[in-house]
Symmetry: C3
Subunit: 348 residues, 3 copies
């Protein structure tokens, strides 16, 4: 597979600065690229690698300064241009229509003839698997679950009974859609056998809409009643926990190891850094953003940026963090003031 640089620029709506006729055969990192490779530069931490690269061409943004002689593909959205060019060289794997004889398909399951069910995958009673969807080994699709078209369920993914996966979804290895939510009612008597936690049936479902991606070993619990839902185009990273009855708005991005407690509603286009924690029953407005490790105890309005634990507006957090750095010195200054004050009063 190869393209001329001009053709690549044309496909992504960018423009070439330099020789557009060079032949591009691979997409490579700056450090490893050679004359037939295209690479990508945007983060200023890698300015030395950009200066030193042997890449035939480099994708850069509009504002980027470029050394003379360096051939670039310039784009108003360089990262998007990179994504598209890389997709040309690495197209998504297409399904090979086949049900492996070593797969297990229970009665009443409906698997589209264009789907690919690999060995050691399991499809439960009455489940449906859509067109061109791929089930890798170790995948378990529960009874009555519905998986849409053009999905990829990587190895050891679990889709629980009656749960729903939209079209064009990707579930990374070990992701679990539809485990039980964590709900227990405390029973002091326990029918005479002493105190115990009574399991609250988690009889709802979990659903992900079209174009959702779930990360490795991530967890989306089924609802107590009703449904837990991740709306279209949202992307969930590895080891994320979404509790029962959570709702994640369309196009939201949730980074690794974040946890969202029961019944919290997250709006559209929200972005969360890694290891964020949000308590239950909150409402997070559209477009809100959260710094890594934020611990959120209150509703957050649309468009706000929050950080810290407990989370506060990001600017406040920066101010408070800086003040905290200065706190040990402040303690000394107050002690000094107290001494001086005492002297002043004694002198009176």
């Amino acid at each position: 597979m190869h393209f001329s640089l001009a053709e690549l620029a044309n496909r992504v709506g960018g423009r070439v600065e330099g020789d557009g006729s060079i032949r591009i055969e691979r997409v490579m990192p700056l450090e490893e690229a050679g004359p037939s490779d295209i690479s990508f530069f945007s983060n200023r931490r890698y300015v030395a690698e950009f200066a030193a690269t042997r890449a035939g061409a480099v994708i850069v943004g509009e504002g980027e300064q470029v050394a003379p002689g360096r051939t670039v593909l310039r784009s108003g959205n360089a990262y998007l241009a990179f994504a598209r060019i890389s997709t040309l060289f690495h197209p998504p794997r297409e399904s090979v229509p086949e049900i492996s004889p070593q797969a297990v398909i229970l009665e009443g399951a409906v698997v589209d003839p264009s789907a690919e069910v690999q060995a050691l995958a399991f499809v439960g009673r009455g489940a449906t698997i859509g067109a061109r969807t791929i089930l890798f080994p170790g995948v378990v699709v529960g009874h009555g679950a519905r998986v849409g078209d053009d999905c990829i369920l990587h190895p050891n993914v679990v889709v629980g009974d009656r749960c729903v996966v939209g079209n064009r979804c990707i579930l990374q290895p070990g992701a679990v859609l539809g485990g039980d939510g964590f709900g227990f009612a405390f029973d002091m008597e326990g029918d005479g056998s002493g105190p115990r936690h009574v399991k609250v049936p988690q009889s709802g479902i979990a659903e992900i809409e079209d174009d959702v991606e779930l990360g490795v070993n991530s967890c989306v619990d089924r609802a107590t009643l009703g449904r837990t839902v991740v709306r279209r185009g949202a992307k969930i990273d590895n080891l994320v926990q979404l509790a029962h009855n959570v709702e994640i708005g369309p196009l939201s991005l949730i980074a690794a190891q974040t946890g969202i407690s029961g019944s919290t509603k997250v709006g559209m286009g929200v972005a969360m850094g890694g290891q964020v924690g949000i308590v239950g029953h909150l409402s997070i407005g559209d477009g809100a953003r959260f710094g890594a490790k934020a611990g959120v105890h209150n509703d957050v309005p649309a468009g706000e940026v929050y950080s810290g634990y407990p989370a506060v507006p990001h600017r406040d957090w920066l101010r408070e963090s800086a003040a905290l750095r200065a706190l040990p010195a402040l303690v000394k200054r107050v002690r000094e003031l107290e001494k001086t004050m005492k002297k002043l009063q004694e002198e009176k």
Copy 2:
């Protein structure tokens, strides 16, 4: 399946306010319920949904104000009443005694005739599976492991060699009981090959007692020596990490993404929010409680409530957090005082 409202009230020891003869067919969320459904209200965040619900009846607590004309099932422990009523409508799945021909049962394993071993489940040499226990696809029970009666091991659960699962336990998908603990001794010489970490054999086991639930993709490591143990009735949420030789007391509740380091002993009835971290070799007293994201570096006495990082008594944390909010202003006030003081001294 249906019940009269009066019958439901009778079964859970509650009382009807309104028409007890109405027929209840489902348990539904407030927003989705109709005239033949029962719903549940306790959290004041949903007071609008309670006012607007079309539910035939709503389960409420003793103190709850109810609009005229609204039919309710009132109970001293409304959440418990809800759990029990929901269980009537959604009874736990019963095992279908059968060993799938596509399951793998090694020699010397003893599977109770009433157990259900589904396709693609694996039972190791000398393992025992109790009465009415269900093994879903992808479950791996190691050599010599013992799983009790009436357990549910959801897809892709792993029970390591020689580990022990009590009766009536539920292991959510991907939960791993008995992975190796994280123990390495540093060897500077490495037998002449340079420094290396020598693995400390994790030769102990991991055990969960009766009525324990382990969440999705949770980890309970086996002990270095002896055993890691989760005692009867404790409930562990998704993505929780319990390290080697940890002990969790009976009836404790540990929310998602919490991690407890090696050899820490947690008492009875302890409750932890999400993303709590506890360092190793600590002792946590009975009934202690921890706010989400608490970072615990010291023993905690029985009955205490801790929050923050480093964790302190919850009240102190609230005070400190409030003071931190005011800290940037405090810095200015101290600067002001210093200026005034300087002036005062110069004027003398």
Copy 3:
């Protein structure tokens, strides 16, 4: 299996204080050990257990005070001596050369004749499995992946297509090497269908070098371009997240639930406590250490110890945490000063 105490001491380069001829049959915890057992003491929290133990012998360090009559095996590196003695009693499981007829090996895969591939394991097209390596049930090795010699891949481990595992590696249950990194470019137009996130192909690989261990349900993502790599002898604990293009230096130790964001480079011999978070594109110097729950936003020089959120040098964090404890009182003292000052000024 049994050894005389003198023989054990000889094998680990320690010395006996007491009767070296006693016969040792097991390694046991202090509380459970009997006269034919050896145990281990180093943490002063367990001084009572040490005093009370019935163990025939106890491994202790050079400086340790020992009660008269207590037989010990003394060593300059007691924990290493313990690791070695425990390994004598619990040698690692050896492979039983066999490919189970219930395993699935696709065409072109090369499995060494001395390897053990258990039932329900899957090896993809063109993958290679080295000598004496063990694949447990539920393991999925992707197309073209390479697994070295003497590895143990525990149940439900996933090694993605083209990924690389060195020699003597251990992957605990559910560990995933080579899931997709989390990379999306925002496309405002979405080809006329409205805004969407375009997946950036994760076309690189993930590699772990020799002697690496990955914990239960841990995630090492494949690179966007190039490779994510964990270097020789590094040990990664449960539920850890290593994002695309991360590099972990040799012999580093990363405790449970830690997350490292994309492209961050971690040096040699770095140690991280649990639940640490490190943002992307950073450089962490050799031998740096991090307290549990540290949140790292900046490069860290070699040899430094960091804690806190945001992370600062550990000493500063201790000072700041102590000052924070005193902050509510400080606020009062400043208020007091202000009042006194006001009075002073009024009196003038």
